[in-house]
């Protein structure tokens, strides 16, 4: 411990300071909080194998659809002429419907 006689009283004061006793109900409250807010890994681990499989399939499907939608939006907006991206009257004349259809077909080929 750092010894400096001028500050020795700080050591004495802090070392004789009050220490709280342990909280006897802490574990019960923590246990209840855990059951109310289980971590995802524990929640998943406690599911039966079929449920885990179903959740995995559902998650993968949603992820696939999300990626597909993202790609569709990106392609769609990327290929539109700048004027068509705003909703101004008359500006859609420059929009190439055939090109857009071709892109959609290209995008949706797996379906």
């Amino acid at each position: 411990m750092h010894r400096n006689n001028n500050l020795k009283w700080v050591d004495q004061l802090l070392l004789r300071s009050h220490i709280l006793p342990p909280d006897p109900d802490l574990w019960q409250r923590v246990r209840q909080a855990i059951s109310e807010h289980p971590p995802f890994s524990l929640w998943f681990r406690q599911k039966p194998p079929m449920a885990r499989f179903a959740y995995t399939v559902a998650f993968t499907t949603l992820l696939f659809l999300g990626v597909l939608l993202g790609k569709a939006l990106a392609l769609h907006y990327h290929h539109l002429p700048p004027a068509a991206q705003t909703v101004e009257a008359g500006s859609l004349e420059a929009y190439d419907m055939d090109e857009d259809n071709r892109l959609w077909e290209e995008l949706l080929w797996p379906l």
Partner: protein, 191 residues
């Protein structure tokens, strides 16, 4: 007796009730750390519960690169610092001027004799002084004096070198003394 790391391995295998051992092992130090940071028992009890819950939720991703207790104390310090920030924000919005120390934590003075009254006043002064210190000073004092940790352990928790711990502790004691004297006007009687 099982080590912290062995208990965690059991928990990671699904024996979640083993977490009770860790809660009981670190119940008192975490509670005292929270009490010294937050200044009242009720907030300290709530914070201790939140800290153990947070630790449990991240335990499945814990790897034994660091010791469990350094990781747990780190969570506790961060949690308490965040609580103090929220408290400051709430006080700013509510325009109230309640300090971090709650006088309701003191026992009824009519039930106390002279010496225990002095002790409680001293406790209140310690708590107020701690709340006026910078975060760096406060954390090193709490870890050293109230949790009774070694320099080495403090260095691991705060991720600093041993000489840095020594320097920080020396500066913290000096600042504590200055703030205490400003508050009380004189050093406490030695006992």
């Amino acid at each position: 007796m099982l080590s912290d790391e062995e208990i965690i391995q059991l928990i990671q295998k699904g024996e979640i009730d083993q977490f009770q051992r860790l809660v009981e092992r670190y119940n008192q130090p975490i509670l005292n750390l929270c009490f010294r940071y937050l200044g009242n028992r009720e907030d300290a009890h709530d914070a201790a519960q939140d800290i153990f819950l947070k630790a449990f939720q991240h335990l499945f991703r814990w790897s034994p690169r660091a010791k469990f207790f350094t990781w747990l104390y780190r969570i506790a310090i961060n949690h308490c610092q965040n609580q103090l920030r929220y408290r400051k924000l709430r006080q700013w919005f509510s325009l109230s001027d309640n300090g971090p120390f709650d006088v309701q934590d003191l026992p009824d003075s009519s039930l106390l004799n002279q010496s225990s009254l002095e002790r409680e006043e001293e406790e209140a002064a310690i708590q107020q002084t701690l709340s006026r210190l910078s975060n760096k000073d406060r954390q090193v004092l709490i870890l050293f004096y109230f949790l009774d940790l070694s320099y080495q352990e403090i260095a691991e928790i705060l991720a600093i070198s041993l000489p840095a711990v020594e320097a920080r502790l020396f500066r913290a004691r000096k600042n504590f003394a200055a703030q205490y004297l400003k508050l009380m006007g004189k050093p406490p009687p030695s006992k």
